[in-house]
Amino acid sequence: MDSRSWTSTCSGGTHVVGESRVPIKQGGDIITARQQGRALAAQLGFSSADQTLIATAISEMARNILVYAKVGEIIVRPEHNGKAGITIIAHDAGPGIPDINRAMQNGYSTSGSLGVGLPGTKRIMDEFLIVSEVGKGTTVTMKKWKT
């Protein structure tokens, strides 16, 4: 039989760079979330300019959670579709957004805290999907591909 140690390489598995989840409950969690995002982006080989854009997008979305839903979660994970990328999911079970179209307009904010929030963040990512239901919560899924 082949004597090579499968198990040792096996433990590394296919999930070399995995998903990480950061619960968002307080201000400091925003920093943790964007640090996780930047670290993953760096591992995936994103340029430092892109790493900063990704960290900034995470920061915006994490703050959205804190301001509107109080608690939620940021998930960052590697993405692939022929090319390498990163996916960021911001999820909360908060009040939801009644009018997404309006929320996506520049300068719109209900709490007065988010001048550029959603539209600005959409601009710096390659893909941006928002699903929200009043009373149920909001999930924003964003992707950025390596150029």
């Binding site: 201000g27 640090q35 930047r38 430092s48 900063t52 854009l53 915006e60 703050r63 601009r123």
Partner: protein
């Protein structure tokens, strides 16, 4: 994480050392505004070299802070914005309108000197 504020002549220099939470930033804002009133401060420099991310909240806080300091009779210069951060701010559609910017502490001080000399003489 508290931000140390140094007094140098008629200037106050706040050097941000590490990533700031929203609470830290809000605290810095209060403290700076209070100290501008206490000592006869003519200029304030906020050094953000250590910030690797500036999102809309940070940007707006700094902008408001600069505005408030102006109302209290001093000038604000934000120094040390990193290249990647500057680009991210622009891409997000954010601006520091109203606040002056300079490359680093040295340039920030020179800028304040230049502006204040134009007004009157000043002792450091």
């Amino acid at each position: 994480m508290r931000v140390p504020i140094l007094k140098q002549g008629s200037y106050l220099i706040a050097s941000i050392q590490d990533a700031l939470s929203d609470e830290d930033l809000a605290q810095l804002q209060q403290e700076l505004v209070a100290r501008v009133g206490q000592a006869r401060t003519r200029g304030v420099i906020i050094d953000v070299t250590a910030l690797d991310v500036m999102d809309s909240f940070a940007c707006r806080t700094l902008r408001d802070l600069a505005h408030t300091i102006t109302l209290r009779g001093a000038e604000t210069v934000i120094v040390g914005i990193q290249p990647d951060v500057a680009f991210a701010l622009v891409r997000l559609g954010l601006s520091l309108s109203g606040a002056q910017t300079a490359l680093d502490l040295e340039d920030g001080l020179a800028l304040l000197d230049q502006h204040l000399q134009r007004g009157n003489t000043r002792g450091r």
